[in-house]
Subunit: 394 residues, 2 copies
Amino acid sequence: MDVSKPDNFKVSLDVIEKTMTGAGPSNYHPRIRQAMSLPVLGHLHTETLKIMDDLKEGIKYLFQTRNSLTFCVSGPGHAALECALTNLIEENDVILIVCSGIWGTRAGNIAKRLNANVKMLYKHVGEQVSLKETRECFRMYKPKIFFMVHGESSTGMIQNNIEDYGNLCREFDCLFIVDCVITLGCTPLFVDKWKIDIAYTGTQKVLNAPPGISPITFSQRAYDKIVMRKSLVKSYNYDAILLGEYWNCFPLRPRIYHHTICSSLLYGLREAIAIFIENGGLEASWEKHGKVTRKFHSILEKNGLQLFIENAENRCPSVTSIKVPDNIDTHKIISYAMNKYKVEIGNGVGMTLGKIFRIGLMGVNCKDELAERVANILIEAIRAIENEKVVSKI
Amino acid sequence: MDVSKPDNFKVSLDVIEKTMTGAGPSNYHPRIRQAMSLPVLGHLHTETLKIMDDLKEGIKYLFQTRNSLTFCVSGPGHAALECALTNLIEENDVILIVCSGIWGTRAGNIAKRLNANVKMLYKHVGEQVSLKETRECFRMYKPKIFFMVHGESSTGMIQNNIEDYGNLCREFDCLFIVDCVITLGCTPLFVDKWKIDIAYTGTQKVLNAPPGISPITFSQRAYDKIVMRKSLVKSYNYDAILLGEYWNCFPLRPRIYHHTICSSLLYGLREAIAIFIENGGLEASWEKHGKVTRKFHSILEKNGLQLFIENAENRCPSVTSIKVPDNIDTHKIISYAMNKYKVEIGNGVGMTLGKIFRIGLMGVNCKDELAERVANILIEAIRAIENEKVVSKI
């Protein structure tokens, strides 16, 4: 043989359980782990198709939409983002992207690859955009597509008044894409009422499901734009019409084979949505996330820590961002919490790297005891690292 | 609420174990099911990165390559195919695609989306291409990229002498992509020795791992073409350079965050490769698949069934295609086997739909007893359906 067997596999796979309180993935519920261990099914088996049908109904409920073109992309949240953009964008289409963290940047990156005419509406990291300045950009650029992040996981900010932007888009005959990766399930979101044309989310945040299968929904207006395209969608895997045919979104068309879906990921997501509904569904989850996060914030502030998003109304109830005290190395804090307690504290990402901690209390991890525990561990870690520095100075 | 909670989730998830002897996915080994139930890890956790490093070594061994740009795409086998094409193709690039089943058609579909100048070398379904006619096409079209399927799952045919085509590609300064989805692990494949520039595979065939994470490898020549591109790769998710940076394929560059990988799928694949190596690795697996499949074929032929691929040398040792006897409805046979025995017999797909049965004996499913059992069930089912027709005629 040209290449011999690697030795790496002589050591058995060994995975310890951590408390996943970074910006995601969050912990699996034990029932989700159980679901993931079920036997594999084929991508066109009756049972698989039934699970997909169930999932569609679950996702429509979570998004609060009646869109028939609602399904999952077989890939991470990034794949859903790319699916949204790649289906809508044709060469030279003007897309306006609000950017106050990494997700706007990422959307811009993808739109450029697709030869869109990309207009970025940059805000300071963690700062909300206003309707007024957005309207000015609409007047100036006449975008065909508008992209906005509901909750920015890199800063912990939530964009309020999404509904106003939906109305603005209708006024300018523009399609409205909203990234709901960290907001779905933790805070009100009404895709139809808010006139959102494409919304997508990740499964590994509030839903506690495995990543790798990402819900997305398309309005009739988005569908119309796609079927009226002059050019082919640049991707087969992300082609929304083909995916819709596989997911049986068009009752009058036959179901097609599109790709080999991972049945295990379907099981995980189905179990996650079942648990979510059993626990009271959207209203109960919104209330829980709001309450626990406010308590979490108050413990942090009582202990002298500062939240990165100053206005309480602009704080996302799933991911909290905390300013790093002066002269503190985030890596040391993160290692301290992980090594001593197996508790994840997230670092910033992109522009916020080293400047904030990010802590997610999502789904099964959203509870008072854990909020207290993580807050205490963060405070302990900061004190320990500060003391270490004092000692080393002496 | 605009959309109320769906009732679908009141019924618990219930998945029965089937004998997965269609064209894939194949059954998980119990250890893989165990691995899938392990706790989730983050996409940049030390343990996750170690598993990814292990996987790279495992994949290099399986592909028999030393390519440093070797990783997995987070998506099904189709995603790996799209990753191969989307990184190599620039507008108007001539790509020559051999097509004698659905995979050539699929590659052509994707290449057209990317505005390649697509030249198809069509063969009858199940017929091999010859080096001579390929060379003529090379002379005529001067392709920059050549695409060939090693084992065509829609027909059960294996393309012999891949090495000759590697040499041809070098002669014409053309890049060579080979689809190894159903061949990896069941029959000799030497990516480096055979001068293949991109090879990719699926995990749900011979490896018995979950689908959704697909190994791919790029040669230095493929890498050079990608970095010399004049236009951006049309996809962020499939951008091989960014994926290589996440998978730490470039030792001198820092590891980046690219997307949230599904740790559960990594566990499943790692366990699958560990089992594959423990069972003797490539040579043992090649021998087993050859032997069991020959036995399977001989039982079928003894019972009057005809194999679809006439020349024994052109039969793929993982997926067997069997001609459907005259006037037999494949759906009835497939339902009979599934309902009575929970054993999967695959239908044809694309041009072969209703014309062949496809049976896969892959990895843990590749054993004499199962070969006998599935052959007997197929024969029983055909007789039962034939008798049913006789009775209904009377």
